[in-house]
Subunit: 346 residues, 2 copies
């Protein structure tokens, strides 16, 4: 394990090392901007079925690695496998996104036992195992889950969009929302621990909907549950580093970093690197934060913005990434250009 | 003028005074949560026509003042009257929002001369004049406009939603976007100056879409244009205080406050009061920031959150407001309760 750790640039940075060139991976690197992904995806009608097919999910993970010299792969899955495992029906509407039966319309919320529920996700862990077997040398494997609040918002509202209903639920039924978050903390901890057991080198918690919350609500639904999640992970014996990504959290990032116990911070597009550095311990790895739209545009803007991000995070442990997931409109050529610049080959 | 200033709590706070109880108004206080507004609105099919009818717009402004002892009225208008005046077709799709012909699809952008264009908005200034004549004693009148970037995003994309296309335009056609922002700065300065001339006591710039921008882009499309807008206003002889509201700007708020020259800061829902206070001069008024969803929920949550906001901003110049506009699902009863708590009558 120690040998593997020292051979992986990503893990070295996550442990606090500053490398001359940052390792690079990017959010949704296995995604619709790749024609081979679209082809693969078109063969399976149901998106969750795609996520639960180890061979297909592993192939999706390997696709970007064949094109680009990336330093990490990330499990192909979805943050909504956790509510799915907990017995909530999840489906995907083409071109619109995920749907669930919204909890807000129901009384007496009931969920399956988190420990047992997570056993249903064994195909995901089989995928992790397969990816580990297929990974090129020097490439780390990232496991992931949605943050408790982000997953809860989907469960509460039944869909994405604004989070008004989820916030109303926090005000109207605070104890029930706390109970829901506790179930998610336990299920997510077990889900992440199982990924590490199957071969994930480190973990990322996507708290994609961290914006727009009053500070006290942020503390209640994001900071405290994430803190409990990280400490539950440690109690389960997981020592793999954890990257927290509270997207859109603004000034609440500071409390998030101070209290949750995450090892590294995913920095969103709008947060200045200098600010992120100022509010984090010196040895904490920062990950980010190129605007994904530069990969749609390409040309001199892509070149300039990529170098701006490299310069801004220089002098401390940095993992190059986007500030948000890549979009389907990005081109593989632009991605290749970005990677070459980060690798010092352009 | 000096006499009026000292009799208006809002202006005293904007000039740096800390009052025992903050003055209160709230964003979209003349809006769909009021049955009398819905009735008034239903009589005019076209929303811009509604904005351009001084009698009707004045009536909309007066409605919340009849119900609640508010300290300010705000002009009833729309941020898109500026592009409308500049010769861009604007229309509203019921239940969806505004539409324009998107600039991104066009080449050779052309706009009418800002000074002449703004003369088309004379019905708006007539509305300001009428409101001033109808206002109860002690109630200040706020004029407003959209921030240059927020208005530009609508013009670039033709609609709201995510701002990906507008950001792409910044990367792909930076000089043209700069030119567009300059036209908007000049038109907006003249539009705001005309509102003050007609009787507005102070001004608010709604930069509602300040989120998600890389720091250098934020500087280029928000901080610098707003700085030019404020200095153009001063050059036009406007001394009325200006409230900047860069919603969602996160860590970029600091540069916004430091550089733009705004007199007061509108604080969004997620920004902690203590943080806002720490990054602003001691005498700068802060305005905000109750979560609008508490006015949907009501009950003990509304009471608790209202008092939390009051306490959080205590000890410095504060204007009580929401952190975002009130929603149609809020109830007048809940609003009355919030106002009573702020006024110390509950």
């Amino acid at each position: 394990m120690a040998g593997r750790e020292t051979s992986l640039a990503l893990l070295r940075v996550l442990r606090g090392e500053t490398l001359e060139r940052p390792p690079i991976w990017f959010m949704r690197q296995a995604g619709r901007y790749l024609p081979e992904y679209r082809e693969l995806r078109s063969r399976t009608k149901n998106f969750l079925e795609f996520c639960y097919s180890p061979a297909v999910a592993t192939e999706a993970v390997m696709q970007p690695l064949r094109r680009f010299p990336l330093d990490a792969a990330i499990l192909f899955s979805d943050i909504l496998v956790v509510p799915d495992a907990l017995g909530r029906k999840v489906w995907f509407v083409e071109g619109e996104g995920p749907r669930l039966e919204p909890l807000v319309a129901e009384t007496g919320w009931r969920f399956d036992d988190p420990e047992k529920a997570i056993q249903r996700l064994s195909p995901v862990y089989e995928t992790v195992d397969r990816i580990r077997g297929a990974l090129p040398e020097g490439v780390a494997l990232i496991g992931f889950a949605g943050g408790p609040w982000t997953v809860a918002t989907y469960m509460l509202q039944g869909r994405g969009g604004d989070k008004d209903e989820a916030r109303c639920a926090v005000y109207e039924r605070p104890d029930e929302v706390d109970a829901l978050l506790s179930v998610l903390v336990e299920a997510t901890a077990r889900h992440l621990a199982a990924q590490v057991k199957a071969g994930a080198d480190c973990l990322q918690i996507f708290e994609s909907w961290a914006e727009g919350l009053p500070p006290a609500v942020f503390d209640r639904v994001i900071t405290q549950p994430t803190k409990r999640l990280v400490s539950r992970l440690r109690a389960l014996g997981v020592t793999a580093p954890v990257i927290g990504f509270p997207r859109g959290a603004g000034a609440n990032i500071e409390a998030f970093v101070r209290e949750t116990g995450v090892d590294a911070l995913g920095v969103d597009t709008q947060t200045p690197a200098a600010h992120a550095r100022a509010i984090t311990p010196k040895a904490m790895a920062l990950q980010g934060n190129l605007d994904p739209q530069t990969l749609v545009v390409g040309g001199p803007a892509l070149e300039r913005e990529t170098r701006t991000v490299l310069d801004a995070f220089k002098g401390g442990p940095h993992i190059f990434n986007l500030g948000h997931g890549i979009t389907p409109q990005a081109t593989p050529e632009n991605v290749a250009r970005m990677v070459a610049i980060v690798k010092g080959q352009a």
